[in-house]
């Protein structure tokens, strides 16, 4: 199950500067494990104490995973996973 993961500027030190990387998995947790295998150190930036970091937002095909099961959110082949830091709007 291949998915495309978009990496924010602040985390690209882990991907050698790549904006977008491939990963695999059928849940977000598996995708993050796959990212960790290829780009060591990413997992600890994204996950704190078993849940997503408070200031990290993750979207599967533009839908926030926090409303779709969090780390257990389903991911399917060809999906786009977008990681963004939480910033202010308004």
């Amino acid at each position: 199950m291949a998915v495309t993961v978009s990496i924010p500027t602040i985390l690209r030190t882990h991907t050698g500067g790549e904006k977008s990387v491939e990963a695999s998995g059928s849940t977000l947790a598996e995708v993050i494990e796959s990212l960790e295998n290829d780009h060591g150190g990413l997992k600890s930036r994204l996950v704190k104490e078993g849940t997503l970091h408070r200031f990290v937002n993750v979207y599967v095909n533009d839908e926030d995973v926090r409303f779709a099961g969090g780390l257990e959110a389903k991911v399917t082949d060809g999906d786009t996973v977008t990681i963004l830091p939480a910033v202010a709007g308004g």
Binding site: I10, F55, R66, L84, P85, V87, A88, G89, G90
Partner: protein
């Protein structure tokens, strides 16, 4: 009755209009809440007025006071009008990457603008405003990101208006910035109709705006209550522009760019309802009209060109 004692009294009671051409099915209908029909042309007139009135009542705001606020534009314009009529000064801390029209409007109303750097977007404006508040103890920061009167304006105003005009409402979709609209309307509707869906449309900007030094500088507004929401979409500038133009072409509504993002999420939930064979009345917010964004080129040329011009701008 459409006669008011002053412009400030003409707040709210905005039209809710059906969108027969964009609605995906006969029993899945889209409705636009026209918040551009407020005194300064945006939904922010509601929280601005409520926050000022509450601060007057509890004695924080007295004649001659100066108000301080971090804002990417609309809240500043709303506060500037009210401040002018009520005799307050206003200092707005605004990211430099906002539209030219917003700056000119604020200046026309006599507000003082302190610019914050484009990198980091509104995060930097919030940080700078908090610094200024410490340095100027006599200024009154209303702080829309954490002021319960922001959400209360929608709990007492926008929400009841929607239910009064459309008792069959099943979904409410609005932009996620301070989170005041979603939390306020969402709480009210949830109390009245527990099964209602509350959906956020969050603008996804160019990379510049996410240029934090570290993740700990991230920001979640103090008002945010994720328990009120049932879904949250991230919408990029291309989809926001595409929907903004579609709203004008199909239904004649000339809206700002953030409304395009909100419509994008509204259509996503409407399509889901239609595919599931459900009946739905989806209300979404038209946060402001398009006038303030003409200089960004949002309405001319190809969508790709317009999206490229918006890169790095705070368009919501």
């Amino acid at each position: 009755m459409a006669r008011y004692a002053s412009l400030l009294d003409a707040l709210g009671d905005t039209p809710l209009v059906g969108l027969p051409r964009l609605s995906p099915a006969e029993n899945v209908r889209l409705w636009a809440k026209l918040e551009d029909r407020n005194p300064t042309g945006s939904i922010k007139d509601r929280p601005a007025q409520k926050m000022i009135e509450a601060a007057e009542q509890d004695g924080r705001l007295r004649p001659g006071c100066t108000i301080l606020e971090p804002t990417s534009g609309n809240t500043g314009i709303s506060l500037a009008m009210a401040a002018k009529l009520k005799g307050y000064g206003l200092v707005c801390v605004m990211p430099e990457n906002t539209s030219e029209e917003r700056k000119q409007l604020l200046q026309a109303y006599g507000a003082r603008i302190v610019y914050s750097p484009a990198e980091g977007g509104s995060n930097e404006a919030v940080r700078r405003a908090k610094e200024l508040a410490k340095q100027n103890a006599d200024w009154v920061m209303l702080y829309q990101y954490g002021n319960p009167d922001n959400a209360r304006a929608h709990y007492e105003g926008t929400g009841p208006e929607i239910l009064r005009d459309l008792p069959t409402v099943t979904h409410f979709v609005a932009g996620l910035g301070t989170t005041g609209t979603l939390v306020g309307v969402g709480r009210y509707l949830r109390e009245q109709k527990p099964e209602v869906q509350i959906v956020a449309a969050e603008p996804r900007y160019g990379e510049l705006v996410y240029g934090l030094r570290n993740l700990e500088e991230g920001f979640v507004p103090e008002l945010y209550d994720p328990d009120v929401l049932t879904g949250r979409y991230s919408v990029g500038s291309y989809d926001a522009l595409r929907r903004t133009r579609q709203l004008l072409e199909s239904e004649g509504i000339f809206a700002g760019i953030s409304t395009g993002a909100i419509l994008h999420a509204a259509l996503a939930v409407a399509d889901k309802a239609a595919a599931a064979g459900k009946t739905a009345d989806v209300v979404f917010v038209v946060a402001d009209a398009g006038w303030k964004y003409l200089s960004t080129g949002a309405y001319s040329g190809t969508i790709d060109e317009a999206a490229a011009r918006l890169d790095g701008h705070l368009w919501a």
